[in-house]
Point group: C2
Chain length 132, copies 2
DNA sequence: CTAAATGCAAAGCATTTGCAAATAT
DNA sequence: ATATTTGCAAATGCTTTGCATTTAG
């Protein structure tokens, strides 16, 4: 879905500021607030920090983006298909990875005798490039 | 290992303030800074907030305790055997759970062609009690 | 045209720091 | 005896908020 539609569907106006933040996340995959501020201000020097804060919070609430508690500081990403995160400690990159977690989740549900609603699965890794 | 030994092994003096924080974590399992402040000050009214901050940071650095990025605010726990976290959204309790994750980790390593160094596995759940 | 969003400045919290006094070893 | 730790107060830094102005729809 286009970013414009994404915003409108959530009753948010498609302002240039919001589109700039979403473009940044689209390009980066994941970014911290500081990274978002730096990158967006290159293209949009008048964009204020409080607007970034407000928009990130609003878009998290509206479920357009999500906050990923990984690495040193929280990172933001546009919501997409379910995936796990691989964080390479060597090159400091966060990789999205899709894998079937159903068997593992079932195993935990059975062992712990609980109902799993949601999962957060992060691995600290050395990525393919860094292993060479 | 006793808390006193734990601290001394890490070149930290076994002050009553540190022991009080460790006792609190031992009793609670997991606690936020606010919870630690509240509980420790009951037993130790003169304990200052900056001491709590300093000690939590130092003990995380020395690997005596760890910060768990789960629920609304980070929680602290005394380091122990590897485990995953189950967070019951209904009763707001964090449960430690031990399960064999090797097969799952191997699967990811193979699929993603990477070396996994560490993992963070949290599930949001409804626990046995809350399911009744 | 109007409600929503923005930018700026100020306010509000959370966390850290400097330092003199106290304390563990 | 001494280096470490503590408590306090001040400083810092991050995040939110109030409000006049602008803007998307």
């Amino acid at each position: 879905m286009s970013h414009i539609k994404l915003l409108k569907t959530s009753d948010l106006k498609a302002t240039p500021q919001r589109l700039c933040v979403l473009d940044t996340l689209e390009n980066c995959g994941h970014a911290t607030l500081e990274q978002i501020e730096k990158i967006t201000k290159e293209k949009f020097p008048t964009l204020s920090l409080s607007t970034i804060y407000r928009n990130l919070n609003e878009m998290v609430e509206k479920d357009i983006i999500s906050e990923v508690k990984i690495a040193k500081k929280p990172h933001y990403e546009i919501k997409k298909e379910k995936h796990i995160h691989l964080y390479c400690k060597s090159c400091d990159t966060i990789w999205d990875f899709q894998s079937d977690t159903n068997a593992f989740i079932d195993k935990i549900e059975n062992e712990a005798n609980c109902k799993i609603l949601n999962d957060v699965i992060h691995f600290e890794i050395l990525c393919t490039n860094c292993l060479k």
